[in-house]
């Protein structure tokens, strides 16, 4: 058995999601190969080679992969599998927007199913995954010859450094994709990444507007060293950018501490944060469903409570 992990990276460094995917790959017996496909990505390749449990890094440093388009990356992975130099049994990527974009293309071209958002690996073809916004957990078995998975990063710890795996250049060329990158507007932040943060302060519609969101939650997040998240309603209303959204159709998080401020606790929001270790809810409505999952609930006006909390942590 050999698993091919598709690395998520920005050429210079690996995203931590790759480390979660490597841990998942190690739950399967056999070797773990990591494909780093990009343009000028040798630093990311070196970083992958240092991760514990990695047996080999395949470095595809090619112009067609520079923008990491789904068409190019999928064509490369499929060509590598079909070349048959290594008989890959599993292809695995993090269930991030990156992985979700690429792996279904790979699965379709190989004529196999994909198992999305795997949270547990029972054996070489049996997996557990949430369905219906996490209101049910399904155990599914795939009888396809090659198993294509995306894994939920919160369900697998980040693999640490501790190896010196060989880095091999990939000689197979990716096909040029049909789409071309016009540009990216990435949200700049000095805060920890939502997916990997130990503490998250999240705001909802109750904040009223973007200025309040910033004025109240930034200082609290600063005191806690926290990442900032939001409900869909807060994103839709333009308080914060789209990449703040936590939930069924946004980011899945599981920090040590999640502080929900002015968030009602709709099932779609809970789907993204209910695996947090400790949940705090601040809401003026004692009936808000968020209190049903909160370890500590504080009923009150967030405009009073949040500044008090920030001061108390000072």
């Amino acid at each position: 058995m050999t698993t091919l992990v598709i690395a998520e990276h920005d050429n210079a460094s690996l995203r931590s999601t790759t480390r979660n995917a490597i841990t998942a790959a190690r739950r399967l017996d056999g070797e773990v190969h990591v494909l780093v496909a990009g343009g000028g990505c040798s630093a990311a390749c070196e970083a992958a080679a240092g991760i514990e449990g990695v047996d080999k890094v395949l470095c595809a440093d090619q112009p067609a992969c520079t923008d990491q388009g789904a068409e190019a990356l999928a064509s490369l992975v499929v060509a590598m599998v079909k070349a048959g130099t290594v008989a890959y049994t599993h292809i695995l990527a993090p269930a991030s927007t990156f992985g979700k974009n690429v792996t279904p293309r790979v699965a379709a071209l190989l004529d196999v199913a994909q198992v999305s958002d795997v949270v547990a690996i029972e054996d070489a073809n049996t997996y557990v995954r949430p369905i219906y916004a996490g209101n049910a957990l399904a155990t599914v078995r795939s009888d396809d010859g090659i198993q294509v998975l995306t894994v939920r990063t919160t369900a697998f710890d980040a693999a640490a450094d501790g190896a010196a795996a060989p880095v091999e250049a990939v000689s197979i060329e990716a096909a040029a994709g049909g789409s071309s990158l016009v540009g990216r507007q990435l949200t700049e932040s000095a805060r920890p990444e939502l997916g990997a943060a130990k503490t998250i302060v999240s705001g909802g519609r109750g904040l009223g507007n973007g200025d309040n969101f910033q004025a109240l939650l930034e200082p609290l997040a600063d005191r806690l060293g926290a990442a900032l998240g939001a409900s869909r309603a807060a994103v839709d209303a333009g308080f914060v950018p789209n990449d703040y959204q936590v939930g069924q159709t946004g980011k899945i998080v599981a920090p040590q501490l999640y502080v929900a401020v002015g968030i009602s606790g709709a099932i779609q929001h809970l789907a993204g944060m209910k695996d947090s270790k400790v949940i705090v809810a601040i809401n003026k409505d004692p009936e808000a469903p968020i209190f049903q999952v909160a370890d500590y609930g504080l009923v009150g006006d967030l405009f009073d409570v949040v500044p008090q909390l920030t001061a108390a942590l000072g």
Partner: protein, 249 residues
């Protein structure tokens, strides 16, 4: 240009589903069903492109049980011109749906297929990408903005780090994210008009594609539930609990 919009009939997003006692799945009897919310956004976008004079026809397609007709009528009420129901006796998994849609695309020859990014029942997030792969078309998933002109489309995508803009030659596949638009409510006159729009039924088994499920569900269980915690009286008590009981500060 013609736009094809696949729409799925799913459990309404307000329903909290229950797992069946025999662990074979979730309880679907007498549960409110609706169009997948991302597919409403897809239909709305296609109809707006038609209203803007970019698209000439919007065709909705749904695969599954005969009751998917209701979902198609809802799509017609938003403004789709006609609908195709593909029936199937077997449970359709994403790869099979993608294969059906490929066969429909080959018949209909649309320039654009707009799907939802994810069905809120299986939460798979696969069909659009799979369809694009089978057709060897470019794709832009998780769209929050679509600008289509003759032969080309520019799509802004919601990605984990922010936004990304792609340009694609047509034909192409797009999947919708929440911020793309706010779907209109179907008006009563439009609901009435929708009843008269053409709805064609095709047997999935007649399309000559492999519909067999690839995944077997062994069991479906409730997730471990969190026990409700306590209400604290004030900020001082909250901080004390976080420090001394939960030890997260």
């Amino acid at each position: 240009m013609k736009i094809l919009v696949p729409v799925k009939r799913v459990v309404d997003y307000n329903v909290k589903v229950r797992v069946k006692a025999d662990q074979s799945g979730v309880e679907l009897a007498n549960v409110k069903m609706a169009m997948n919310p991302f597919d409403e956004i897809a239909i709305e976008e296609a109809v707006r492109l038609k209203e803007a004079g970019v698209a000439s026809e919007v065709v909705a397609v749904s695969c599954g049980v005969p009751a998917c007709q209701e979902t198609l009528r809802a799509a017609l009420a938003i403004g789709a011109d006609r609908a195709v129901l593909v029936t199937s006796v077997v449970e359709l998994q994403p790869l099979a749906v993608a294969k059906i849609l490929k066969a429909i695309v080959e018949k209909e020859a649309p320039s654009l297929v707009i799907l939802g990014k994810q069905a809120i029942d299986d939460d798979a997030n696969q069909v659009g990408q799979m369809l694009a792969a089978l057709l060897d078309w470019p794709q832009a998933t998780f769209a929050s903005k679509v600008e289509a002109s003759d032969g080309q489309v520019r799509v802004t995508r919601e990605i984990d780090g922010g936004l990304e803009t792609l340009a694609m030659p047509l034909p192409a596949v797009i999947t919708t994210d929440l911020r793309l638009n706010e779907p209109r409510y179907a008006t009563l006159p439009n609901i009435m008009k929708a009843k008269k729009k053409p709805l064609e039924t095709v047997a999935g088994e007649s399309l000559g594609v492999d519909l067999a499920p690839r995944l077997t569900t062994l069991k479906v269980v409730e997730p471990p539930s969190r026990k409700a915690g306590i209400l604290v009286a004030d900020v001082a008590q909250l901080v004390d609990k976080l420090k001394n009981e939960a030890q997260v500060l």
